[in-house]
Structure formats: structure tokens, C-alpha cells
Symmetry: C2
Amino acid sequence: MDTNSVGLVKEQQFTFASAEDPMKLESGHTLGPIDIVYETYGEPNEDKSNAILILHALSGDAHVAGYHHPNDKRTGWWDVMVGPGKGFDTSKYWVICSNIIGGCKGTTGPGSINPQTGKHYCQDFPIITVGDMVEAQKKLMDHLGISKLYSLAGGSMGGFQVIEWILRFPEMTRSAICIASCARLSAQSLAFNAVGRKAITMDPGWNDGCYYGTPGPIQGLAIARMIGHITYLSDLSLDSRFGRKLQSADRFSYDFTTEFAIESYLQYQGQRFTERFDANSYLYLTKAMDYFDIARSYGSLDKAFAAVKAKCLFMSYNSDWLFTSEQSREIVQALKRNKKDVSFIEINSPYGHDAFLTEYEQPKRIIVPFLDSVGKKKI
Amino acid sequence: MDTNSVGLVKEQQFTFASAEDPMKLESGHTLGPIDIVYETYGEPNEDKSNAILILHALSGDAHVAGYHHPNDKRTGWWDVMVGPGKGFDTSKYWVICSNIIGGCKGTTGPGSINPQTGKHYCQDFPIITVGDMVEAQKKLMDHLGISKLYSLAGGSMGGFQVIEWILRFPEMTRSAICIASCARLSAQSLAFNAVGRKAITMDPGWNDGCYYGTPGPIQGLAIARMIGHITYLSDLSLDSRFGRKLQSADRFSYDFTTEFAIESYLQYQGQRFTERFDANSYLYLTKAMDYFDIARSYGSLDKAFAAVKAKCLFMSYNSDWLFTSEQSREIVQALKRNKKDVSFIEINSPYGHDAFLTEYEQPKRIIVPFLDSVGKKKI
């Protein structure tokens, strides 16, 4: 274990709302009770003014850094950025991350048991939005006694939550870091999500969403993940890593076996994803992404950002073609027109959208002084 | 019917090879007999020196222009470019197009009856390559008494065939027009093809390829087409045409119905494709695309193009992210290093890869003088 690791961490759980007093969702539907699974790293200071909330992306979870068990082979999903001396320095900050509602990593989602029926929610689970995820996180902040967040950070769909946070709770957010994100999905991104969902629901294993206790729509989910995975990587990184290399031969096999290394890699990624992710959550969370549209919700981007109080940092990656630098710039310009305190940095990286998970040296050099500067600013 | 239409045309058929004397394929396997379906437009001149062979792309066929029946609603796939006074002027040139082997529009493919078994080939059909398609077209040229082609033209996978033609039969090709194509698929394109094939073969309707007489893997094929379709269009054209428009409502429905216009469009395209295309052909033809790799076949691009005699024109579209301008330039540079007669034009168009099918004004302005110049060049 490296000396900058947060080491062993434990999942915690918090429950709010109930069948009688449920949470009201953006759709008009209700949900309750709601379990929220979360983890914390570092320690709160006396007045809990050093809390940083990390928001995870589509396939992430509350386990940001460190290990659950001493013999875990893999760390949390953003271990490169969260730990003592790292970009989010847990010797200074109290870092918190919770699994989003609708997910499948402990927080209430379509695979949870509906206490009113004693069965899995399946497709009876209500549609949730990014706003709903954030409202649930707010309940957790209240529970933890945090009245003001030192900062918020998230990439991709995590960035959507960052944006909802600074809009919904301006008084609670001193600063915010939004990475490789956007104010709404483009038509192309809507299209990729739609095809992924179609692959899941056409799989006979889907069974209208009631597949718990069976293998479920694992082939459809694998295809959805394969499509997603292509969009997470740049064409340049695919070419340099795989190119047209064959997986295990020098010559073409002239048949339909998995032959090119890129095919084999994608199939592996697809198959592995089915072992750790629930297809219904994939449906609900991609739909939440589709619905996310700040300009639509508030009338325009300029109107949306009028009430923001947080000092903001936006970062994008030049090879990201899923959530482009242009899309980050669009938000930054709207914040600037509102005369908000906002910085924007486009980072050069060949790794496409996935860079937000894997790059850490450049992000650390940007994020550390940004977080320092927040402390110097009068509240 | 517009005055520049070729009007009513008839499909024709030519058969070569046999079970006893089959065509030897690049894979080492054999195929025969082989039916080739083709169409011609305009008239041959006395020595048949005015023939232009059009090569179609993945989902195309021999029906390039005009109508099969007076009440047809749709013309052939490149009617905008082929007709009297059009880019390929049928009052001057004798234009020919044949359906490729492995296809499903009359030429022998996996859905054809294997005369040795009396049943559909299904997956017993041998893997075919772009080189094999071109060798079969050469037999048709021999049959038609064409000793030298005035020109060849094709976009996308049609461009692959153009390239194979000028390499395999340099003495037969006076000129060649290659549009929105490349010398080999990138890792990203291999990836999209692989996911499309996976969607087909995971569909229980696929039944290992033996589905004739049943609906077949229509959902998987629709998904493959939807993925393909996204790659054929630019993000800009998707945003301007569909953006985030809802199909038939003003407000979000907060359910999993087809809601955004882009979803509806893609599903329509996917579904329509299943009515006109055979899933096995989709598997065989995308695999042929994957295998196409001139540098691999000849040792390098420079070696590949050493023997070329044709005057060449390469065109690409600036918004095409499937087969990029950069990929066309790579070929053009190899031809230039070989001191070949080659021109390259990148056309501005917002329509992405699909521009090769829909754009006609700019291509006409480029192609007409190019074809004129071929006639002025000493043979």
C-alpha cells in the first residue's frame, strides 16, 4: 500500500424518507425509504468547514479511494486523486462520496427491495433525475452536519451533479470543480445512450426489467458498455494502444472469431461490466443523463447561473469527443456573462473522455492551488 | 420524373464459375457458381471505351439511378450524381454498377441457395474480401467486353473497391475517383463494426445464421444499423437536425418510451434497414471492411501504389469522422511519393460521412472536369 493511500475504508449507510413520508422526485413521483451508501476519507475539522463532496459518474460508486479489505487488488475509482498529499489532500480535507440514487452499489435503486411489495422495484422504480440525486446528497450533508461544502468535484455525470449543486444550493457551496462535463447531452450522446438502452431491452434476459435471480440481460448490457467504452476513448488512443493488431495470431483467420485486439478488449470490458453493474441502473442513469438540461430547466444557461455563489473551476480534455471542451466553454461563458468567479482549463491528454479518471498529475497541479485559494477567500 | 433522370432501368444478371470450377477467394476458400446482378445506364460507344464502373458501399446495391417501375417512389441510391447532364453524365458515359458478392441484392451471398446442398449458405458462405468483390467485378467487365475502364468511382467501402481495382488491374483503369474512404479501418471503426456484429449474433433470432424463413435477428440488425448510422452523421448535423427536440410532446414523459426525436429517427432507420438488408450480409461485409488493409497486403502504402496507372481523384468531407480527410490524405501522399497523377479535394459539408451520398453540386463541379481531362490524356 503506497504511503499516500487513504488505506482501509468502510462503507457507511444513512436512511431518510419513508413510505409514509417519501421524497418527492422531479418527475412528480415519490420514493421512500431511501438508503444512501457513502464513504468518507480524512477527518472533519471542528466546524466541519473542510468537507469536499465527490460526485461519481455513470458507472462509479461511493468507493473513491483506498481499500475495503487488506487483500483487495483494486483501489477505489479515483484513488489517484484522493489521499494524503494527493489532489484532494485527505490530510487537510474531509472527503465524502455517496452512491447516487438509481444506482446499484448500495444506495436505493431499481434492484433494491420495494418495502411495499417485498420484491425488487425493477421497472416500478420511478425515473430519477440528476436533480433528485443531488437532493438526496443534500439530505446526507444535513445528516453529517455539514452546513457549507468547502468544495464539490465530479467528472462526466459527476459534473452534472456539481452543476445541479451550485444551482440548487448556492449558499452551501463555496467552490466547485467540474471536469469533462457539459450542460446537456448533444444529439449524438443521446443517440449512443438510446442504442445502449435498446441493446439491453432487446435482450430476452431483460424480461421487462424483472430478471433478479436470473443472469439477466448480460449480453445487452455488455453491448451497451462496449458502445459507451468506444465513446470514452479517443480514436488516437485506440489507434496507439490497439491499432489493427490481432489478438493472438499473425494472420487473418478468415472467420467470425474475435480477431482484432480492439474487439477482444471491448468484449472483455463489456463482459466485466456485467459482473459489477445492474442493467436496470444502466437504464435509469442514462435516462437521467438524457434529461439533464440546465438551459431547459432554467430558461437559459445565463438565467441558470445567475444565482451561483461558488468559485468555479472547469476542466476539459482536448481529446474528449463525448463531452467536448467546447461544451465546457459554453458553461464557462455563461458564468462569465454573469460575472461569476470561474476558471477554465483545457488539458492536453490523448486519452479522451476517460482522461478524467486516469489523469492526475496535471489535474493535481491545477486543483491544489484552486482549493488553497478557496480557503483564502472570505466566506 | 425529372428530365435528367435515367428513367426506367432493368436489373441484369451474369453468372460465372461453377461448383466444379469455382472462384478461388483470398481466404483460400472457393465459391461457385456466382451470380452477379448489375445495371447499366447510358450507352457504350463503339469500342466500349466510355465505361465507368460505380462501386457501391456497405448497404448499397446495383441500382444506382432511375426507377425499376414507373410507380417507384424512390430512385437508385446515387441518382443525384448519375444521369444525363449529371456528375456522371449518362449521355456521354456508359455507367455500370454491380451488386457485390456477399451482398443481399441479387449477387451471390450468404442468403443465396448453395447448389450443393439446396439450402441457404448461411454461415457456410466463405469469408469474402474487398479484393474478391473486385475480382468478381473484373469477370463482369470481361463479360461486357470492356478492356479498359474510362473511370471507376465509389465512396466509403465503394472507395475500398476503387483502390483494389487500381492496384489489381492497373492496365484496365484509366482513372479512378475515391470518395470518403481510407486505406484501412481505424481501431475505432473496427470497434464499431465489432459491436454491430455482436448485436446481431446475440439476437436469439440469429440462430447461428440459419434464420431464413423466420424473422431473423431483426432487433440485433437494427441496433447494428443504429450504431452505424450515428457514425455516418456528424455531431453538428445531428444537433442542427434533431438537437434535443422531443418527438411528440413539449414535456418530458419521465418513462422509457422513445422520447427524443433523435431516438425516434434512429429506431426508424434501424427498423427500415431490417426490411431491406440481410443480417448475414451485414456480418460478411463488415468483416470484409475490417480485413481491408492495403499497407498490410502490399508491405506498405508506398509499395502498394507503385504500380498504379490510373489518374486519381480523392475527395473527402471535412465533417466525416468515420473516414476522415486525414485518412484520404495518407493515401494521396503515398501516391504522390510514387509520382502518380493524383488530386485531392476536401469538401466542406456539415453532413459527415453520409455527405458522399447526398452532396452533388460540389462533387459535380469537381468530377465533370476531372472526367473531361481523362479523355484528353493519351492512353
